[in-house]
Amino acid sequence: MSGNAGSRLVDRRSFVKGSAAGLAAAAAWASYLRETSAIAAQASGEVRLTGQTASPEEEELLRQVLDTFAEQFPDITVNYEPVPSDYLIKLQTDIAAGNAADVFYVGNEWAQDFMSRGVLLAIDDYMEADGVTADQFYENLINAYTWEGQTYGLPKDWSPLGMVYDPAVLESAGVSGPPTTWEELRTAAEAIVESTGQPALALEAAFDRFILFLYQAGGNVTNEDVTEVTLGDDATREALDMYYGLYADGLSATSADVGGQWPGDAFAQGLVPIVFEGNWMFPFLNTNAPDKEYGIAELPAGPAGKGTPAFTNSYSIFYQSQNPDAAWTLVNYLTGAEGMLTWTSLGLAMPARPGIADQWLEIFPEREPYLASGEYATAVQYGPGGQQFAEDANSVLQLLYAGEIDTTEAQTRLVEAAENALDLG
């Protein structure tokens, strides 16, 4: 993301990606009453749906999905009100105004903040009644939406970070193929810088990008039970050295440094030949650089092996929804096999149900490396207080990149930020 991503409460890309259009609930503008028909759903009434869309195409596809929903459930009228930007703040303001939609996206990074505040409706009973079980979804994804034993949302799609590269540039720099380890990454980057005079990689000064190195070094923000901050360990040190080393040696740069608005933009403009981004990048590429050739590979492995962050959004129900039954029907449809497959076919993100992964792969065979990383991808969550931590951590990394502090100081500050912001134990 561009330089000002650091203080956004949520990376807007977290929404676009993976979860694709999400709740396209816009459809159903058929706001006249129909007679109750003998369809499975007994729920009826009006449901308001909101979410963040990144493009008119996304919105359009969502509305199509909602049209299909309307055909199957004519008693339910869905009002879709997409939010083009600053989704999280707008959502929170709406909640504050008592005006939140019935169904909305919840990003994995801030899901725990919402769940711990009791703003979401627990859906376990609904799931049981309709035969939806947790194992129908990728474990790490659905776990992101469970809190104290209850489920508060169903993941609608997901995307990890993968390596997207320009094969032509790599070839002319003498790099034989996409790098598979940290060492190979550095070597390849050096060759590219030598050959093109430009940085090889666009990498932002943001914690949700640094975290990929952290995972690959075997570290994480906290331990499993979220009782202790582990950012002071050697794994974090290694990750910081690698992450900052790339930048200090001119091998990587932020998108703002090279003149792009975000790494995907920098790649599309041909400013850098390698980026670490998710599925959300490709619709953007198609619109902005339709003729550009690209290759996809898994991220290079670190000293502790492969690792990548997973970003997802759920459809969740507002705890004060006036019409939870109808809201659940919508959520169930959109996260069911049929609904999910339809809108992940836009290619913004991958299905959260392993069961339809193969069908999706038939549409996008070149994205196989993304799917493959599902085995080891970690859903990014920091625990309650995570938003605050992410903001502070972003600041630390920005100061590091600007040369204001060194990696030792950065590590100390990251630990401080985590201890101050997170709700431990």
Binding site: S7, R117, E404
Partner: protein, 324 residues
């Protein structure tokens, strides 16, 4: 009104009419202003003594807790620093530049009203529009860097709005002085970029105001002084400046009040970043109130901001006095 003898009694019904009519006349305006400005001012104070997280229904009284947290909060201190840097950098600069331009424009030159119009123009356009345009100008491959590079100057790395380094600190580092206190690090390059944009926007209004003030000074005063042998410089400092005192007061007051509440530009251009170096008090209120749902806390920040602005106003009044 002249008091005519014998008329006194018949004026009473008119006065009585006024007593009622007066209130009727002011009622609509006062109702709006009272409800939507005066009442909220009182409310801000009241809110600041509560914990008001909009999601939960409880709103406990917490007394001075919010204020106590405030003064211990690193982010608040940061916002305070940034805002002070902003005001101290922008206000004197735009005032001095405005005055210089006004003096120049006051010479016997042609096209004075064209210049007046041209300079005043930026300040009438929306702050959002200007922010969007400058966001584009300040990009790494934007117009400003393009021109600087063509002229052979270096451009900041990271580029302007992404650069969190303090300018004073960088200058000190350049001459070998290390590690200064945060209070002396100066505004970040990013904040400086926004400051320069602000000066660009309002310099023209300052010029126009000063020009009007200058034109009110009769030319013969200068004539007399120059005959007495006073140099231009003496004339400027001994005649122009003192006669412009009320105008200077007005310009400075407006300037400080404006810079202390800066919000729009931060919101559109940087969202408080990079590394929180462009968070101002105004933006912090927004962040805390609508980002963190901590409305009581945000209200406390608002009260502090209000207190600072009032103090500036009163201090300036004391020092510079009123006109005539």
């Amino acid at each position: 009104m002249v008091a005519l003898p014998g008329r006194r009694r018949s004026r009473d019904p008119l006065a009585a009419e006024d007593a009622v009519a007066g209130w009727l006349f002011i009622l609509p305006a006062v109702a709006i202003v009272g409800t939507f400005i005066l009442w909220p001012i009182l409310q801000v104070f009241w809110l600041s003594f509560h914990e008001w997280s909009v999601i939960t229904p409880e709103r406990p009284w917490v007394g001075l807790d919010n204020y106590r947290d405030l003064f211990n909060d690193a982010d608040f201190q940061l916002a305070l620093r940034n805002t002070i840097w902003f005001a101290l950098g922008v206000v004197p600069t735009q005032t001095v530049l405005g005055l210089i331009l006004a003096v120049l424009a006051n010479q016997k030159i042609r096209g004075r009203s064209f210049f007046r119009t041209a300079f005043y123009f930026p300040s009438i356009s929306s702050s959002v529009v200007i922010s969007i345009i400058f966001l584009w100008l300040y990009a790494q491959r934007g117009l400003i860097n393009f021109v600087l590079q063509k002229m052979g100057f270096p451009t900041p790395q990271p580029p302007w709005l992404s650069n969190p380094r303090g300018v004073v600190e960088m200058a000190l580092n350049a001459v070998g002085i290390e590690s200064v206190s945060v209070w002396l690090a100066g505004p970040s390059v990013a904040l400086l970029s926004i400051m320069m944009m602000n000066i660009w926007t309002t310099m023209g209004t300052m010029m126009v105001v000063f020009l009007a003030g200058l034109q009110d000074i009769p030319g013969d005063v200068y004539e007399a002084a120059s005959i007495d042998g006073a140099s231009r410089r003496q004339q400027f400092f001994d005649i122009t400046v003192p006669m412009l005192r009320p105008v200077i007061f007005f310009v400075l007051t407006l300037g400080f009040i404006g810079t202390f509440q800066v919000f729009d530009q931060i919101f559109v251009m940087t969202s408080g970043g990079p590394a929180k170096s462009t968070i101002t008090l105004g933006y912090l209120i927004y962040q805390q109130g609508f980002g963190n749902f901590a409305m009581g806390y945000a209200a406390a920040i608002a009260v502090v901001l209000f207190a600072i602005i009032m103090s500036i106003f009163l201090i300036q009044r004391r020092i510079l006095g009123r006109a005539d």
